[in-house]
């Protein structure tokens, strides 16, 4: 269903020369404006009604050289600055990372079904989180939470294991790598399920984590993700052209002087860092890494020089919107974000798919 139609040579600019699919400044500007509008909407709307004018004044008041009096109470200011804003920012970061990582994985593995969890990041993070919950020391007094660290380490270790396993195979092909990812994921999930059954009192917290959450997002989580997000973004975006070359196949790429295995390693490493950081603070949020890049492909084309930046922006906007729905549809109760991404994301994606088929 999610397979985009690929005619040979259609989406693979082989030579560096003048590419048809370079990102135009206008497109980029429009996308950024869209993201800004979505973010603003998400900051203005929430379970607690804050006067939009006052919120805008309050936000403007933080700009240098601007002094305003917004009229928000201390409580309302706390809601805005410490609860709503970090949640919007974190939602954007997580969405951006998952979408970018998804696009990168799909490019590296030439597999439309690849998602950021393909090489076992989800299973590794799940095991790390479960171990931290079941056996970790009481970290309530620590400056940082153990849980996101453990999830991050688990995700990175899982992908590293999958990579090592895939490398030692006869052929260092993308397929070997995917298969070893499947094996690693299955193995880690088995351990995780076992630990979870043994320590049944941790069940509630483990499920709460796995279900995905931005509910308790704060600036601490933002600070945790931001550095990895920055590094991964830069690396993946810089490799856009090489990913386009890789799209023609490993052998063809090497004949053009591109070392496929090396590009793959670098991009996978960067995408994994992004995924692990996102998973560590938000649990497992599915679907973003699949539908956002594919939607971009369908509407804007599949060159990675275009796909990367646009996936980044669209992923951020999509998750901010999904989280907006999660916290307002049942207000003041919450919906699990994973339910929202799939519930609204799947029909939307189907529409895009239909529209692109009907187009000449």
């Amino acid at each position: 269903m999610t397979v985009t139609e690929r005619r040979p040579g259609h989406d693979a600019p082989v030579a560096p020369g003048p590419a048809p699919a370079r990102l135009r400044a206008g497109t980029l500007l429009a996308a950024c404006a869209g993201l800004a509008a979505v973010a603003l909407l998400a900051v203005l709307v929430g379970p607690v009604r804050l006067a939009p004018g006052a919120v805008l004044l309050e936000l403007a008041g933080r700009l240098p050289l601007v002094h305003t009096h917004s009229g928000l109470s201390a409580q309302e200011a706390a809601i805005l600055w410490q609860l709503r804003l970090p949640r919007v920012v974190l939602g954007g970061l997580v969405g951006a990372m998952l979408a970018l990582a998804g696009a990168a994985y799909q490019g590296v593995f030439r597999n439309p079904l690849a998602d950021p969890y393909l090489l076992g990041a989800a299973a590794g993070a799940g095991l790390g989180a479960t171990l931290a919950i079941a056996y970790g020391p009481d970290t309530s007094g620590w400056p940082v939470d153990l849980l996101p660290m453990a999830a991050f380490a688990g995700a990175v270790a899982a992908v590293a294991a999958a990579y090592a396993l895939g490398r030692s195979g006869v052929a260092r092909s993308a397929t070997t790598l995917i298969l070893s990812g499947v094996a690693v994921a299955a193995f880690l999930t088995a351990i995780q399920t076992y630990v979870q059954q043994r320590e049944s009192e941790t069940l509630r917290e483990v499920y709460g984590w796995i279900l995905g959450r931005l509910t308790t997002a704060g600036w601490r989580e933002v600070a945790l993700v931001a550095p990895y997000a920055l590094v991964s973004t830069v690396v993946i975006l810089l490799h856009g052209r090489l990913l386009d070359v890789l799209a023609v196949g490993d052998d063809e790429a090497s004949s053009l002087g591109v070392r496929a295995a090396r590009v793959r390693l670098i991009v996978v490493a960067a995408a994994t860092l992004a995924t692990a950081a996102a998973v560590a603070v938000s649990g497992l949020i599915g679907f973003v890494g699949i539908i956002v890049p594919h939607t971009i492909r369908l509407v804007a084309g599949s060159s990675h020089r275009l796909l990367g930046p646009l996936s980044l922006i669209a992923g951020a906007a999509f998750l901010i919107l999904a989280d907006l729905a999660a916290r307002t549809v049942m207000t003041p109760a919450e919906l699990p974000i994973g339910v929202v991404t799939a519930f609204f994301g799947a029909p939307f994606f189907a529409l895009v798919l239909r529209g692109s088929r009907q187009a000449p």
Binding site: P47, V48, A78, G212, A333, L335, G338
Partner: protein, 288 residues
């Protein structure tokens, strides 16, 4: 994601099963002598009514009272063979995640379902059923009478002049329980107002609240029923972003509950009521 939804559905099914109101399959054999309890609450009830010596095994979560013969039996994934190994003449359980009831019936082992109580009356009814099934009807009646008397005493002493608002936290993701739930009714007895009631649009009784909403609702009291499961405490709550604004956090109104006592519907609800009544009174004294 699809994979992670399966456990959620299971959990929901469990909850739904717990809320099922079909009562017990009371076959009531004459005074069971070898009881296996798959429910921590039933275990507490059995020991309270003096049927403890007849209990041969309890599930892995039955951690009270201490003398209960705790085993590895899992109530989440009951193993029929392991249960049958104790040669029980009565199995008590609260939820049936799979084929527990059907399997026990096949093996000819009498079973009683004592699901999560929806009100104190359910608790009293379950004590009565267990009393009759184990040959301790008089003790069961006495436990009920004592509970009723103690609760009446606490309620009489603890009615505040101004209704205190509270937030009952089930886990770190801000799942809460409304005043319609069993636990919520206990707070209502003391005249407290539940901030989660407005959030329960789908009437599940257990809505997940937004942090924004909790801060805005500004409860006088916060009760943490996630101290054991999730390591929450007055300190961790105060450290959450934006929560310092809340009256309960500023005025020492955060109460660390025992997760188990706060999630079971046995005789220890009296202890629970005492805890929250005492806290409400100290807060009243400070406030006045």
């Amino acid at each position: 994601m699809r994979r992670s939804l399966v456990p959620l559905l299971l959990l929901l099914a469990l909850l739904a099963a717990g809320c099922g109101r079909d009562g017990s399959t009371s076959q009531e054999p004459p005074a069971a002598k070898r009881i296996v309890s798959m429910s921590p609450t039933a275990t507490e009830m059995l020991f309270a009514i003096g049927a403890g010596p007849q209990v041969v095994a309890v599930d892995s979560n039955s951690n009270y009272p201490k003398e209960a013969p705790k085993t590895d039996l899992s109530a989440y994934q009951p193993n029929l063979e392991a249960i049958a190994g104790y040669k029980p003449d009565l199995v008590v359980y609260s939820d049936d995640p799979g084929e527990l009831a059907a399997g026990l019936a096949k093996l000819g082992i009498p079973a009683m379902k004592e699901p999560a109580a929806k009100s104190l009356d359910d608790t009293y009814a379950q004590l009565d059923q267990l009393g009759r099934a184990t040959g301790h009807p008089a003790e069961a009646a006495k436990v009920t009478t004592t509970m009723k008397a103690e609760i009446a005493k606490i309620v009489a002493a603890g009615r505040p002049e101004r209704p205190l608002t509270y937030y009952h936290e089930l886990d770190k993701n801000l799942y809460s329980a409304t005043s319609k739930t069993f636990i919520g009714q206990l707070y209502t007895l003391l005249g407290m107002e539940n901030i989660a009631d407005l959030a329960d649009k789908d009437k599940s009784g257990y809505p997940q609240l937004s942090a924004e909403y909790v801060v805005k609702a500004d409860p006088d009291l916060i009760f943490l029923a996630d101290t054991k499961c999730c390591g929450q405490s007055a300190r961790t709550v105060a450290a959450r972003d934006g929560w310092k604004q809340i009256t309960a956090v500023r005025s020492g109104g955060v109460v660390e509950l025992d997760d188990d006592v706060a999630s079971r519907w046995g005789p220890r609800v009296v202890d629970f009521l005492k805890t929250i009544a005492a806290k409400a009174q100290t807060l009243e004294a400070v406030g006045s």
